[in-house]
Subunit: 380 residues, 2 copies
């Protein structure tokens, strides 16, 4: 018996997605830049896949630059201009690392992991060209008020116009987490740039893109043959992009019912564990939180021992984010929301996904209860 509860770290490729990719591996494998008809068909299919992705986020295909995953997309976004960047203390390491290549301000979040609009506004300087806030946090699942942040950006633009400050200002969101659960419509969100990642929505790994509105002038980080309108050279990952389009379409079509299903399952899990362990601490926003996420800490207990104890019972979970997990450092997110070390160290990130069943939830409740109890016994 294996219960996988680490969907935030990686999702299995959907067999439907693999089926969509397959013809492009060995049958119509042509270089989309080649001149003959079968290659022209590949080019057309590739562009069609981009259009599909674009339409899901309410954008035009020409506004997407396909990248090798979210990290490259973020680096491309952040490399567009020189100048000051505002982001938050709980972003993914890719965002924080890319921001730190610039002069940057990391805005703090509240104990639920939400950023305050006033804090964003205060952090914006006359030379700030980018505000980047993740759509949802990968560790605690908190969803940010992106469309409200967009109004702050709008206001800043109006002020700059009035003050004859010609510095452009853009809003970027890393939508890697929660892309299968949240509205991604760029106009409704009010973002100028958005990072997407196929690998988090049952698509292929190392496939992603950056949406950038036409007003943003991206600067290519990888130069060469001039693919992706010169913004990202290299022979196109045709199968990968076809797969991403299929994965995002599936996620989009099933989003509402899947979110309801996940929330119901997650709430059963949360309720059972909270009742069983009244001292446990649940992180993330109670309402504005991904339906897939339950971040729960058992104070005084060693989270790593929990992970291995659960593994021996066939339940696969994470402590903190996978990116930080193998570095032996405490999660910067938990620190940012003010979780004490003794609490943070006893935390599990349980993230469920489309293959999670009610049986999995029951099995997980049983396994977690046993392991936490036995660890509590041991450390008493």
């Amino acid at each position: 018996m294996n219960v996988y509860m680490d969907y935030a770290a990686a999702t299995p490729l959907d067999p439907e997605v693999l089926a969509a990719m397959k013809p492009y591996f060995s049958d119509i494998f042509y270089n989309p830049s080649s001149p003959y008809a079968p290659a022209v068909k590949v080019r057309r299919d590739y562009e069609q896949a981009k259009s599909t992705i674009a339409s899901i986020i309410g954008a035009k295909s020409g506004e997407l630059t396909m990248t090798a995953g979210a990290t490259e997309s973020i680096n491309l976004a952040f490399g567009a201009y020189e100048g000051h960047i505002v982001t938050t203390t709980i972003e993914h390491p890719a965002v924080i690392s890319a921001a730190k290549l610039h002069d940057c301000t990391l805005v703090e979040v509240d104990p639920k992991g939400r950023v305050n609009l006033d804090d964003i506004e205060k952090a914006i300087r006359p030379d700030t060209w980018l505000v980047s806030v993740g759509l949802a946090n990968s560790e605690i699942g908190t969803i940010q008020p992106i469309s409200k942040i967009a109004t702050v950006i709008e206001k800043t633009r109006a002020d700059r116009l009035a003050n004859n400050n010609k510095t452009p200002i853009y809003l970027h969101t890393d939508a890697s987490q929660g892309a299968g659960q949240l509205d991604l419509h760029v106009a409704r969100l009010g973002v100028d740039m958005m990072t997407l990642n196929a690998g988090k929505v049952y698509g292929p790994k190392q496939v992603g893109c950056l949406y950038a509105a036409r007003s943003v002038r991206l600067k290519p980080q990888i130069v060469g043959g001039g693919q992706e309108a010169g913004l990202r050279s290299g022979t196109e990952n045709v199968a990968g992009v076809i797969g991403m389009a299929r994965a995002m379409t599936i996620a989009y079509e099933r989003r509402d019912s899947e979110v309801r299903r996940l929330a119901e399952l997650r709430d059963i899990l949360q309720k059972a564990l909270a009742e069983k362990f009244p001292d446990s601490v649940i992180s993330g926003h109670p309402k504005h939180r991904l339906a897939s996420h339950l971040h729960i800490a058992f104070p005084g207990i060693d989270g790593e021992r929990l992970v291995f104890g659960l593994e021996s019972r066939g339940v696969l979970v994470a402590t903190g984010s996978a990116c930080a997990a193998n570095k032996g450092t405490r999660s910067h997110v938990l620190k940012a929301i003010g979780l004490e070390d003794s609490v943070a160290d006893g935390s599990l990130r349980l993230t469920i996904g489309k293959h999670t069943t009610r049986q999995d939830i029951d099995d997980a409740i049983k396994a977690i209860s046993e392991v936490v109890s036995s660890e509590a016994e041991r450390t008493r």
Copy 2:
């Protein structure tokens, strides 16, 4: 009937390679950074694949940085240091574009497409930190004397030591073309950096790597979670790298017999066309040339019309390189080897590969003869 003769532009994914990749799509899809045993196995398999690739080129796994294809690998190599770069006029657009971000000298080549050692030596300045020469040219197939160029680099190092010039100098080769046909052993070649591309050896597209000797200090171009020893962040393309290792292993094991087979087939094709069309011009080095490549021009005839005429007869070929093909510009390589425009414009690049049969060659000879004759008739 389809005869594919554009293996230099793209190769079909080997079914054996796809089979090797497949478990990592939906079964063991785990994030290699996750802590539980199935993910640790994925990490181990990933590292094993890197070791396999490394051992084929006589390197250590820690000297490889996996990238999304050759273009990114080249950009990573060229971004390592500031300073002057020497390369040639016939390199792939990725090399030339990356070089042009620096102060650079493009060394000319002889009419066979070979670079002259003296010219390299003369182009090296006291502040030159990188010499980059492609192992084999993608358009005309000419193979460069890399190990001899390495002796020039060695000499430069000795001179610099004597003159107390502390600028390091490195030799990089883009081995994307010919990786399935040539010795890739980095010590025998004498290179400090090498770019490899899975997509050219029946592996997945957008998978490649940069070999860099320990003495080279690469500068990450994509920052984030710290994967690839901090040199290239982003969740690893596990299936892709597993596929690349398999593809390179197959290519390596069958190299000698395959090169003989390809050379024999190519020579039949070349002889037949040269006899049929005595005015035709064959480019590339007669001896130091990839066995897969035949670049042949029919002066006064429109190469694009040939491509489409051949396509209607089921033979898929290229004019110039695929990267340049859809831009309506003349190939910079043909210009560099001094081919007159009227000759260059009538050229075909015929590249064969592992699925090419003797029957394909005969069919191609027949189709090319017919199409060229009919075009010659038309333009008379």
